[in-house]
Symmetry: C2
Subunit: 407 residues, 2 copies
């Protein structure tokens, strides 16, 4: 049995036209007008395929195959995007899953276990924190965050939900309708350069790194830049500059392979002639092991405190989000390797530096991921793309893995 | 002859109530509603005093005393403020000047030369560049800047002027109505901590430092923070961090007494999980000598280019504004010292790190400045204040200096 590649390609192109942004790429954050249109489109596709459509209280969309008993084998990803994102991130996972289930139905193949397609709400974290949908699904959401959280555009979540059939209560109830799961499979673009550099079409993920997000501030004292001698300044921005360089140097030398990033910066008051009194910034680090995550947390924030005290500043920070690293179970890695060998496709182990819904589902079941190459490593960008022949290989591997797990 | 201190204090308090900001301090940028109210208030005060009121095409307000021939002795400052600024910066210079002329009139004192009070438009640079009014007065304004320039709030200057009796043409014509000037005197708060630290009520300025403003960018490549290894990143923000620390270190060690400041920073795209592709920032340096200004310009931007090339980034910059350092003429310093001795007030020489209208007028005439202490060195802040007894001393010195120059 093989997927119908032309149909899959056509689906991806159709979905990719929903939410086209005049500024480039696709802009389809969860519960935006474009996302609601994409949801209606997906619902129709699930019904056309003959799968049982269901949506839970968090807006996660499901398409179920099989009346049989037992734990469910789940396949999925997400259809929301970042602002000016690409049309492949997430979508190829959902639509390859749909194609697999469609083929199984068409072939009349009898499975021993139920199989379900899942499309999770807001993987990209445009609402409140990343992975709202999959977190609701596994019951890991905090009521306070839902009630008080602001979306990345600064609106209360409730305001966004008002335009939908969902409420903070229904999101918290979503976990009650989740089936017991045998395993979760997700096909995704790599979003990094390794597979392309190695010229290998399939990556079998062995590890998804954990991440730690904080919103931090160095606080000093604003003063007139013409009259405050350099040695008397409490320049909050220089504190941040020092921390940016030293934290990067520290991770690069002591924890090679881990990541540290300052992506967002606000300096205030923010004028030519005023020494910055405050520098607010996002601080993120990622690593593949829980122990390293703990060590980094302790070392990096001690470093920030030291810099603050040396420079006469104050350092404060608030945890925004964190996810633990996930090791993919050996049995699923082996299964994917075996099926990939049977198909005759080259493959290699890869670590996922990006987070995925699979990481959240790992608290509930065994998960595995298949990556296909991202040309130039580009993702979250209008320039994100794939090679279609890689997708065909990845989707056929997904189909074979599903058949093995559900048989 | 002495100033009427109670009347001066009352004027300062009255003007200080115009443009009170609920967020603290005074917000009275030029041509704002509050500034228009303050202008009407000042016009009335000038007329009440019996001075000849005049406004030029740039909105500079004058109050003239004396029908006599010869070059004008001018005294002035500005009444506009920064956002959430203090009520003393600028205002005490204008209102002390007003008080001096009022006293001369009241005493029926016969002067040999005309004396004129000046209140210059937009010293604080909320419109297009600093010192719009005094630059128009000396004929140093660029038509292009007026036509295309955006205000610090992002509006075209023309939009702001639409609410006034002034136009870009009238601003360019202002220089034609400027009288020939014998000397320009300005009383101002120090905006720095030196006089208070030394416990001296009067500073006689010997030098106004020059400044150089650029808007700069390090440009790298935005990428996913989870999948782009540290050693493969072109992180524009780390380029800026490196430049901030090294440029500060360079100035502090090689040009002690000069200043360098990064006050405004925009990092884009600006998200937790995206390595910054671009870091835009304001870069300012100040120094007391023209030669040092040239050396700093060459050394600092070479440093920026070196950092960019080491880090795989591009560095670009655009000059926004520059003013040359001004040495106060010996004859005016001596005159102020002599009058201060006669009054029996302690004084000391000070350098002005901040820019002033006096600096602009220096291209047209001899200028001098009197500083009074700024408690805690605070200015451009709701916490800006003065000690009233210092002001009384400074205003009386201003009066004596005016009498000497105009006699």
């Amino acid at each position: 049995m093989q997927i119908n590649f032309d149909r899959l390609k056509n689906d991806i192109e159709e979905l990719g036209r929903i939410g086209r942004d005049p500024k480039g790429g696709v802009t389809r954050p969860s519960f935006s007008k474009a996302d609601l249109e994409a949801r209606a489109w997906l619902k129709e596709k699930i019904r056309e395929a003959g799968l049982v459509y269901r949506v839970d209280g968090a807006g996660n969309i499901f398409g179920r195959l099989g009346e049989c008993q037992g734990k469910t084998v789940m396949v999925g990803s997400h259809i929301d995007t970042v602002i000016n994102g690409g049309m492949f991130d997430g979508s190829i996972g959902v639509l390859s899953g749909l194609e697999c289930l469609r083929r199984i139905l068409e072939e009349g193949y009898r499975l021993a276990k139920p199989v379900e397609l899942a499309s999770f709400t807001d993987e990209e974290g445009n609402l409140v924190g990343d992975f709202l949908g999959s977190r609701a699904f596994v019951g890991e959401l905090n009521k306070d965050l839902l009630e008080k959280g602001l979306t990345s555009f600064g609106h209360p979540l409730k305001e966004i939900l008002a335009g939908t059939e969902f409420t903070t209560e229904s999101i918290l109830e979503a976990r009650k309708t989740a089936p017991e799961i045998e395993a979760y499979l997700e096909l995704h673009i790599e979003q990094g350069p390794i597979l392309e550099t190695e010229d290998v079409p399939i990556g079998i993920v062995d590890l998804i790194t954990g991440k730690h997000y904080r919103w931090c501030s160095f606080i000093g004292s604003a003063s007139h830049s013409g009259t405050t001698p350099l040695e008397l300044r409490q320049d909050a921005f220089l504190g941040l500059a020092d921390f940016a360089l030293k934290s990067t140097q520290y991770v690069a030398t002591k924890y090679y392979g881990s990541m540290v990033t300052i992506g967002k910066v606000n300096v205030s008051p923010g004028a030519f002639s005023v020494v910055p009194g405050q520098a607010d910034f996002s601080f993120e680090f990622r690593s593949g092991s829980k122990e390293t995550m703990r060590s980094l947390e302790s070392a990096l924030f001690s470093l920030a405190d030291d810099i603050a005290s040396t420079r006469g500043l104050t350092f404060v920070s608030k945890i925004i989000d964190q996810t633990e690293p996930v090791k993919i179970p050996e049995r699923l890695i082996k299964l994917l390797q075996e099926e990939c060998r049977k198909l005759g496709h080259p493959f290699m182990p890869v670590t996922s530096g990006a987070g995925h819904d699979a990481q959240i589902l790992a608290s509930k079941t065994d998960v595995a991921m298949i990556f296909i190459p991202s040309p130039d490593g580009i993702s979250h960008s209008p320039r994100e793309t794939i090679r279609w022949e890689d997708l065909e290989k990845g989707a056929n591997l997904l189909l074979q893995a599903l058949l093995r797990l559900a048989s």
